[in-house]
Symmetry: C3
């Protein structure tokens, strides 16, 4: 009987099962400093205590995606160590600001199970929640992964497939943002003159800049999140595998795209929800990431005059500039070079 | 009409114009930790709260060059996004200590303009000032860059070339250093027995050690400073460019040279002013940086018995040890391998 | 007369000599963040303020090995700059918890000297102690290095070889851990159900995972520790040397092995003592590190019901998985691929 973690197999999950994940993690200003060094993020709210406090935050909050990655990382050893594929996420909401010295933990509930027809794998749906040590929930999302069965002979469970929203409703947004004193918002300091009213549905923005990824960078990032997925770290085994090299953590791509999006979305200071995300193709060290965004929808928030919401699709590519907004071909397949298709709600001052 | 930042062109600048830069940045102890990891700096004042407090600082101050890079980085999107070349800096003074949790912002004033005879570019001189959220100025410097014109047909402005000091006067130094209780200075802990009186004008010091630069390192550094200059990050485009590879940010070289200079200048704890700086040749990942220094001048500071000033020239090279103090050939051209020629005032205990 | 540090030669050491090392270093939460990013460590006590406080710590303590590396780094310029080889360490005890904002300094006493028969080198034994600015000792260890003589003609000193314990006694352990409220230990959050009683002498654990090392990573780590050993940083000179490349700092390997050991030793939260360590072969960037451990002994601590001690041997390899627990061949030589053989005491809740 081994003391190492073999991970859970499809048979180990059952509907309603609740898994409390290791390792609680205190997020410090130093984590935010490292996050800045990894992605070059420039959103003023997360960068400056003074800017954030003038608006009504207690301090500069920790970057939304750093919170996401830390919570996500905790779920890996229990949920996806034996995963064949990460199939998607949905219904991700940011529920409370996270500040330096907050401690984050995560718990997951199994909400769906469906064995695949080959009898060797199955799809597991979990709702994962990140919370502070005082119990405050900070993040909530559903993801589904294809997981190996330990034994193909085990009978299939009754299939349960949860209903997932295509997109969150506008009234579910904004919980992680205190009511802001928006008069204090300074467009010079934030880096963009464009507020809520300036963005129109259907508008597309090429974020212009490109960022080349190095092995040391994505490894540092993924370890910072205490994410243990083996494919990111072990060249000895990955060198013998399908791609011959280490894969970059998908969340690293999301953070790169978000950081690049500052150029065009400088006032879009907070990710309020992720409606859906798809990692279309793998990214490797040496590749250069570009991004573009489309405004899918705009919405005001009930009871709030300070901020509005943009529903955005941000698409990332590798080794392919985005001047022509690459996405899908006439048959509906993603074109060569697209690596991420992310649908999310983000807040911007009105 | 694009929402991305196209940067300013030569025609966009006018004398007296004041530009408030994005993004304010709270500097944390974690930034200093990362700075230490990037350069291996060992000056005791910036490394130790206890050492700094014994001398009369509130805490260990943030490294001078980290302050410089953060302020400089803010100016890039507005001043030098369309720059053909960074021509120089002058008159840079450090005006107040910066401590963890201080928030830095930057503002620039256009103080000089001169169109080049080709009609396609011009030189822009700006005085940039970094300040804390309470208004305290921490840094002040002039730099000049060659910037593209949007349209060669635009008429040239009246040329204005500011008068710049060759070197700052000794009475302009020391504002960023509180009056020190110099009895508390411990040469064992600082790592050098050599104080102010031990250095003589004309003395040259080979700093001996070499440091090889990796892509991940200079990218992490330059993003930490939220510096968005494209040439440092994008292998896709730089691979097609003049050098075929990414350029290392010039400030990274300055920090490497400063860190190497500890070996020989261990008590030279504070850069008080930068008189002039020239990036003689580009640095690339894989190159190994060496450095040597010459004492150009020594000065006491009016009203201060605690510290004195050394005017230093620190020269950095790549893939060339500095045992023979490489600089210029008989025709006055920098010899092969020299990448940086920096003239600055630094403080040292008496 | 040079102002650069030439390092000490064998003749410069004498029995009883006490060397106070530069540079004092304030450790911040940001150092711990960077340490997490470098190794992906997941032990709950060091990761979470909340977890640590529930147990009776003031906060999450700084990782034991980060403390070790910082103290060790300080000794390098004085003890091993002219070292031919690091021969070993012994009797290393962790004496007090280190918290963010503590400042660490180091002092060494020469306790042994023995010239080698070739007359060109000698072995120097030092006891190094790390302490906080209030004088609290945090770490104490002996190491011995082979150091060059400045002049082969210098007469040999009277040989003195200190008696070193093969392993520390159990009653010397635990000073760096307050008496814990062990009822508060949560196995879900710590990531392992296995406590003291679950481990048996002779038990071997393959830690399964592998971690590939990049140049930027080990350089960042070694500079974070302000360790100036030249072989880690200078490709220009190392490229002409014995291996043709930079060597990874041995302590980096120890930290990687410790981090990998979480998978199987998740509750082994504290290194209380290092009995002996041997760097069997060098590690280079691009190599993938694996590890396995054997339980050498178990011990209760006098007067403590909260924690017990495991004496562990952790072996690290490069480019060689550890499913078969590689160590020595029938002739007692380490087998190909083994790079580290570390014997230490670690604490685990009862």
């Amino acid at each position: 009987m081994t003391k190492t973690n073999p991970g859970n197999y499809f048979e180990d999950f059952e509907i309603g099962q609740v898994i409390r994940h290791a390792t609680p993690r205190t997020i410090a200003a130093g984590d935010q400093a490292l996050y800045t060094a990894l992605y070059g993020t420039r959103f003023a709210v997360q960068s400056s205590d003074a800017f954030a406090r003038d608006l009504n935050y207690a301090h500069a909050p920790i970057d939304d995606l750093l919170v996401f990655h830390v919570v996500f990382g905790k779920t890996v050893p229990d949920i996806s160590l034996n995963a064949v594929a990460n199939l998607g996420y949905a219904g991700c909401r940011f529920l409370a600001p996270v500040y330096p010295r907050d401690t984050l933990s995560a718990v997951s509930e199994v909400i769906g199970l469906k064995e695949n027809s080959n009898g060797k794998t199955g799809v597991v749906y979990v709702r994962s929640t990140g919370y502070k040590s005082d119990g405050t929930e900070v993040l909530d999302y559903v993801r589904w992964v294809m997981v190996r069965k330990r034994d193909a002979g085990t009978p299939a469970p009754e299939p349960v497939i949860p209903e997932l929203p295509k997109a969150l409703a506008a009234d579910a947004l904004g919980d992680a943002v205190p009511l802001l004193d928006i008069e204090a918002w300074d467009d010079d300091l934030s880096g963009s003159p464009h507020r809520f009213a300036a963005y129109e549905v259907g508008e597309k923005i090429d974020h212009v800049d490109g960022m080349t990824v190095e092995e040391a960078e994505h490894q540092l990032a993924t370890r910072l999140y205490q994410n243990t997925a083996k494919v990111h770290f072990n060249q000895y085994s990955e060198g013998k595998g399908r791609f011959g090299k280490r894969l970059v953590y998908g969340g690293h791509v999301i953070s790169l795209a978000r950081s690049l999006s500052f150029n065009g979305l400088g006032n879009v200071f907070h990710i309020a929800a992720i409606n859906a995300g798809r990692h279309v193709a793998p990214l490797f060290a040496g590749d250069t990431v570009f991004a573009w965004s489309e405004v899918l929808d705009v919405a005001t928030l009930p009871g709030r005059e300070d901020v509005g919401a943009l529903r955005l699709r941000t698409v990332a590519t590798k080794d392919r500039p985005c001047t022509d907004f690459p996405l899908k071909d006439s048959e509906g397949n993603y074109v060569e070079g697209v690596i991420l298709d992310l649908d999310y709600w983000a807040l911007i001052p009105r």
